[in-house]
């Protein structure tokens, strides 16, 4: 049945994706919910929350706030927080409750900006889409809101777009990427994971952007259109995701977010001549990265059918998916995806 899950818990929702993009940027993040969504984001979907304090707040909506549409109360609460907490901006993140009552985010933004004198971002997530949709919205809002000035391009400065724990499933990934680029005499700027709001403001100064997640492609396109910054999609650490084995002539399925999956495919092809690699993803797929035979997954049955009826020799997927295909007798490679299982490498 469409929408019914028997094996997998729901994937990271759009609101978690939006928070993930903004988490390290020093803003007041207000999740417009009753408490449960914030609990999901903080207690599960944001692994950095356990390591460092961040100004993530729940709006603490109650039934009568929703029924009566008391947005003014939310504005008052945000004003109160802005007086108490030092922040460079405020962000209001949507959830199912404001989606049901039809909250006007633009009006909220205007009211809050007027009263707090802080730049306010609003992300109209609804908890029903997946994390990549929330990330996409947040990236565009963020860069449109803060990367306004056209600065001279600094040769050797590379922007890394799409770095969130949801996408790369590795809290040490930004350090590793920065180190890798440093070894080549380049400087990597990992937006939102290691580098903060000041770097976002200077986004026009990078030589090019490397996009590590499909969710950031729209933002990269925006930066190209606005500042002329070229971009390419790929995950610089893909080599460490592919274990040593003989891939020559093998039939391989890779299930991940599209950019990482595509980078794993490229790495496998490098290592094994004639490997036939299919990419599948539970999340959005960009048509420019698609190859013939790539599959967009929606329900559990889609994956089970794909995995069981195509004679794959190797499957790269999150370990939580292993039990869905007990009959698979090939090699299952753990390709952890935080947005799927909530686990980091």
């Amino acid at each position: 049945m469409r929408g019914l899950r028997k094996y997998l818990t729901p994937f990271a929702p759009d609101q978690s994706g939006a928070v993930s993009v903004l988490y390290e940027l020093g803003g007041i993040i207000v999740i417009c919910d009753a408490g449960g969504c914030t609990g999901n984001v903080c207690g599960f979907d944001e692994p950095r929350w356990f390591e460092r304090k961040s100004a993530v707040f729940s709006a603490g909506l109650r039934d009568m706030d929703a029924i009566l549409g008391r947005d003014d109360r939310l504005v008052d609460k945000l004003v109160d927080a802005a007086e108490k907490v030092e922040a460079g901006f405020a962000a209001i993140i949507g959830t199912p409750v404001p989606a049901v009552i039809g909250t006007d985010y633009q009006a909220l933004k205007r009211m809050c900006e007027k009263k707090t004198e802080l730049p306010v971002l609003t992300v109209d997530t609804d908890g029903m889409e997946l994390y990549d949709v929330g990330e996409r919205k947040a990236y565009v809002e963020l860069f449109k809101g803060f990367a306004k000035e056209k600065l001279p391009v600094e040769p050797g400065r590379i922007g890394i777009l799409g770095m969130t724990p949801q996408d790369v499933s590795d809290l040490g990934a930004s350090d590793k990427i920065q180190e890798k680029f440093r070894a080549q005499g380049l400087t990597a700027v990992c937006y939102g994971m290691g580098d903060g709001l000041d770097e976002v403001k200077k986004a026009s100064s990078v030589e090019k952007n490397i996009v590590v997640s499909q969710a950031a492609l729209e933002c990269a396109k925006y930066l190209k259109k606005t500042f002329g910054t070229p971009y390419e999609a790929g995950y610089p650490l893909a080599d460490e995701l592919v274990p040593d084995m003989d891939y020559a002539g093998k039939k391989v399925l890779v299930v991940h977010q599209q950019v990482i999956a595509d980078s794993i495919r490229a790495e496998i092809r490098k290592r094994g001549e004639g490997a036939a690699v299919t990419v599948a993803s539970w999340f959005s797929m960009d048509k420019d990265l698609l190859e013939e035979g790539d599959v967009s997954l929606r329900d559990e049955e889609d994956y089970i059918e794909l995995a069981e009826s195509n004679g794959f020799d190797v499957i790269f997927a999150d370990p939580c998916m292993k039990r869905m295909t007990p009959g698979f007798d090939g090699e299952f490679v753990d390709a952890v995806h935080f947005a799927v299982s909530g686990k980091c490498r």
């Binding site: 019914l4 009753a34 029924i67 049901v100």
Partner: protein
């Protein structure tokens, strides 16, 4: 900007009274800060026995969470525990479902499908719905009846409405009612008692079991000790219910109305004289004079042992633990220890402890875990050298911490004894 965490002393709070609680201490008046301390309190499904876990307290039950994906996301934290493996299922809602309500038509079919795929036939299917359906005004009772026709086992709603957390019937009250609503009337047995309130058993050495036996009780039922659905059904044979947690009061009233089983309410306390009085009162109702000396002496001994090992204990007490932070703070002060800081949520029920604390330890500072300025909490000048509760441990990461948040419920003298034994072990560097 001061960048300091807001607090009020118990003296200030007591002077102002219940009507003048500072707005910083009222959760509806400000944004709610998300620290690990807030999580369990603010999110009804997030931690410990939230709605999802509690909803599966009936033996061999399964749960279908019908909600937007975000509401079920963190369930894998629970479903990774062996006892919940293969007991959670999800029917994810999308925007069209919200607009048209079509998800409601899918529920009976989904219930049938998940029942068919279970190796063992479940005893009951709990349908967990969330804020969205609260706003849509969904009549889930009716949908459950439709689903029952398909599977021939009970199907019950379970409301994880975070929106109603501060209402008359918050989610954790509702879920207790749902759990016991499956009981059918049976012939009463004079020597059977139910303990209501928790989703896991009391500690095995809790004196309450022995005291009840002194009163002639032969069988003490707790939902979490029921091995199967048949045993769970025998809870309706009880002569009376003991309500050990105030959130079970509504469920107890239901018992009374539907099954004609009366209830007596007891509190979890850490002040031994109050425990003694409470048991004495219970004994009077039951017509027995409980012999409490042995249990009290053991608890006292544990307190003294801790005092010997840690004579200069200075406590911070949090609310993420098995107890009321103000009552426990008061107990510690009355045992002669210092309690400079408490992190808690003030309610009408616990204000009495604040008043008493104000007389004995007026400078005790009360912080609200949920207040935005807790982002700036600084433990340096507090003088605290030992903490109780997960939240207190979070704020004082350099001090020994008794998490005291275990599933097995501490209660009565056994609770006091075990707490001080744990504290002694904690200062000696042993793990809980």
């Amino acid at each position: 900007m001061k960048k300091e965490a807001y607090f009020a002393t118990v003296e200030d709070l007591a002077r102002g009274g219940l009507e003048a609680i500072p707005s910083q201490m009222i959760s509806g008046k400000h944004l709610i800060y998300s620290s690990p301390a807030t999580l369990a309190f603010n999110s009804p499904g997030a931690e410990g026995f939230g709605v999802k876990r509690a909803g599966l307290a009936v033996p061999d039950s399964i749960m279908l969470i019908v909600a937007p994906g975000c509401c079920g996301r963190n369930t894998s934290l629970i479903s990774s525990m062996p006892e919940y493996n293969d007991r959670f299922f999800y029917l994810m809602m999308d925007e069209t479902d919200i607009v048209t309500g079509r998800h409601l038509k899918k529920i009976p079919k989904a219930v049938k499908e998940i029942c068919d795929c279970c190796e063992k036939k479940p005893s009951v299917v709990m349908i967990c719905i969330t804020c969205v359906d609260a706003l849509l005004g969904t009549d889930m009772e009716r949908v459950c009846r439709k689903a029952e026709e398909k599977v021939d086992i009970p199907v019950r709603p379970c409301y994880m409405y975070a929106l109603t957390r501060e209402g008359r019937k918050p989610p954790m009250v509702h879920v207790r009612q749902s759990l016991y609503s499956l009981l059918e009337p049976q012939k009463k047995k004079g020597n059977v008692v139910n303990l209501l309130g928790f989703f896991s058993p009391l500690v095995d050495d809790c004196e309450l079991y022995e005291l009840l036996h002194q009163a002639g009780v032969k069988t003490v039922h707790e939902i979490s000790r029921c091995r199967d659905y048949e045993e769970y059904q025998t809870m309706s044979q009880a002569n009376f219910n003991l309500v050990l947690h105030p959130e079970a009061r509504f469920a107890a009233e239901d018992f009374h109305d539907r099954l004609k089983i009366p209830f007596i309410e007891l509190r979890r306390l850490y002040q031994m004289d109050k425990i003694e009085n409470q048991y004495r009162a219970l004994g009077q109702v039951l017509g027995v004079d409980f012999d409490q000396k042995k249990y009290k002496a053991e608890a006292l001994e544990a307190v003294e042992q801790f005092r010997e090992d840690c004579p200069d204990a200075v406590f911070a007490v949090g609310e993420c633990m098995n107890g009321d932070p103000f009552e426990l703070g008061l107990a510690l002060v009355r045992y002669g220890f210092k309690v400079p800081e408490i992190y808690g949520t003030i309610t009408a029920e616990n204000f009495v402890y604040i008043r008493n604390l104000a007389k004995l330890s007026p400078n005790t500072r009360v912080f609200s875990n949920m207040e935005p300025t807790m982002l700036y909490y600084d433990p340096v000048s507090s003088g605290v050298n030992i903490t109780i509760g997960k939240d207190a441990g979070y704020y004082h990461q350099d001090q020994p911490n008794a998490v005291w948040n275990q599933d097995r419920q501490p209660y009565g003298y056994a609770g006091v004894r075990r707490l001080f034994e744990t504290l002694t072990a904690t200062v000696k560097g042993e793990k809980e």
